[in-house]
C-alpha cells in the first residue's frame, strides 16, 4: 500500500540553526512533491513544489531536495527563527487530480 512517512516526533532546534525535515514514501511514483506549513488552528499553507526532474529547489531560506531513487524528500530551513515553529506537511500525488498528505512533523525553534 502507499505510504508517506514523516517523523512523528517534534524537532527541537535553536534559533539560527538549520532545520532538516524528512519525507519518505513507498509505492508512489510521484511526478511532483509538495511541502506545506500548518500553524495551530489554521489551514495548511503551500510552501514549495518540486518536480521529479528537479533535484533541488530553493525559496528564500527554504530548500527542498527530491531523490526519486531513495524515495525521499528533505526540507531545510536555514537560519531558523522562532516564527518558523509550525507543523510541516509533505504531500504526493495519489490519483489523477488528488493529493495525499503525510502526517506532518512539528518544528519547534527556541530563541
Amino acid at each position: 500500500s502507499q505510504k508517506i512517512e514523516q517523523n512523528s516526533e517534534a524537532l527541537n532546534i535553536q534559533e539560527g540553526k538549520t532545520a532538516t525535515l524528512t519525507c519518505n514514501y513507498t509505492n508512489y511514483s510521484p511526478a511532483y512533491l509538495q511541502w506545506y506549513r500548518q500553524d495551530p488552528g489554521r489551514g495548511p499553507v503551500f510552501l514549495l513544489l518540486i518536480r521529479e526532474n528537479e533535484k533541488e529547489k530553493r525559496k528564500e531560506r527554504l530548500k527542498v531536495t527530491f531523490d526519486t531513487t531513495l524515495k525521499q524528500s528533505l526540507f531545510h530551513i536555514t537560519a531558523s527563527q522562532p516564527a518558523d515553529s509550525a507543523t510541516y506537511l509533505c504531500a504526493l500525488r495519489s490519483g489523477y487530480s488528488t493529493l495525499t498528505f503525510g502526517k506532518g512533523t512539528m518544528l519547534l525553534v527556541s530563541p
Binding site: R42, G43, L89, A91, L99, K103
Partner: protein
C-alpha cells in the same frame, strides 16, 4: 482577497443530526477538495470535485455527501452525524490538478458530534 471561506467555523451536533458545511472560493478555481484532519491521522481526503457539477470519492467518503452546483461553492453534508465524524474539516481549492499546483486551504470547520 477572501480566498477560501468555510462556514460554520464551529458546530456541535447530536448523534443522528444532519448538517452541511459550506466552502466558497473566489479564485475561479476548477478543483475543490474536502479533507478531514484528526490527531495522529493527518489530512484525509473525503470527496473532491474537478469542476462544476462533478464530484468524486476520496479516501474516506462514507457518511458524507457533497455537491458542486456552482463553480465557486462545494458543500459537504452529513446526513446522520456520528461521534466518529468529530473532526476538523478543511476545504481546499486549486487552479490546476492538486498534484501539479498548490492547494489553497480554508481555515477549517471544527465539528463535534456528541
Amino acid at each position: 482577497n477572501a480566498g477560501v471561506t468555510q462556514t460554520p467555523k464551529f458546530r456541535v451536533l447530536k448523534t443522528g443530526q444532519s448538517m452541511t458545511l459550506l466552502c466558497a472560493q473566489d479564485m475561479n478555481h476548477e478543483y475543490m477538495y474536502w479533507y478531514r484532519q484528526d490527531p495522529g491521522m493527518g489530512l484525509r481526503l473525503i470527496h473532491y470535485s474537478v469542476g462544476e457539477g462533478t464530484t468524486a470519492k476520496g479516501e474516506v467518503p462514507d457518511g458524507y455527501n457533497v455537491s458542486r452546483l456552482k463553480k465557486q461553492n462545494f458543500l459537504l453534508g452529513l446526513e446522520s452525524a456520528a461521534p466518529s465524524q468529530t473532526s476538523v474539516y478543511f476545504c481546499a481549492s486549486a487552479k490546476t490538478r492538486a498534484n501539479t499546483g498548490e492547494l489553497f486551504f480554508g481555515e477549517g470547520s471544527r465539528l463535534t458530534v456528541l
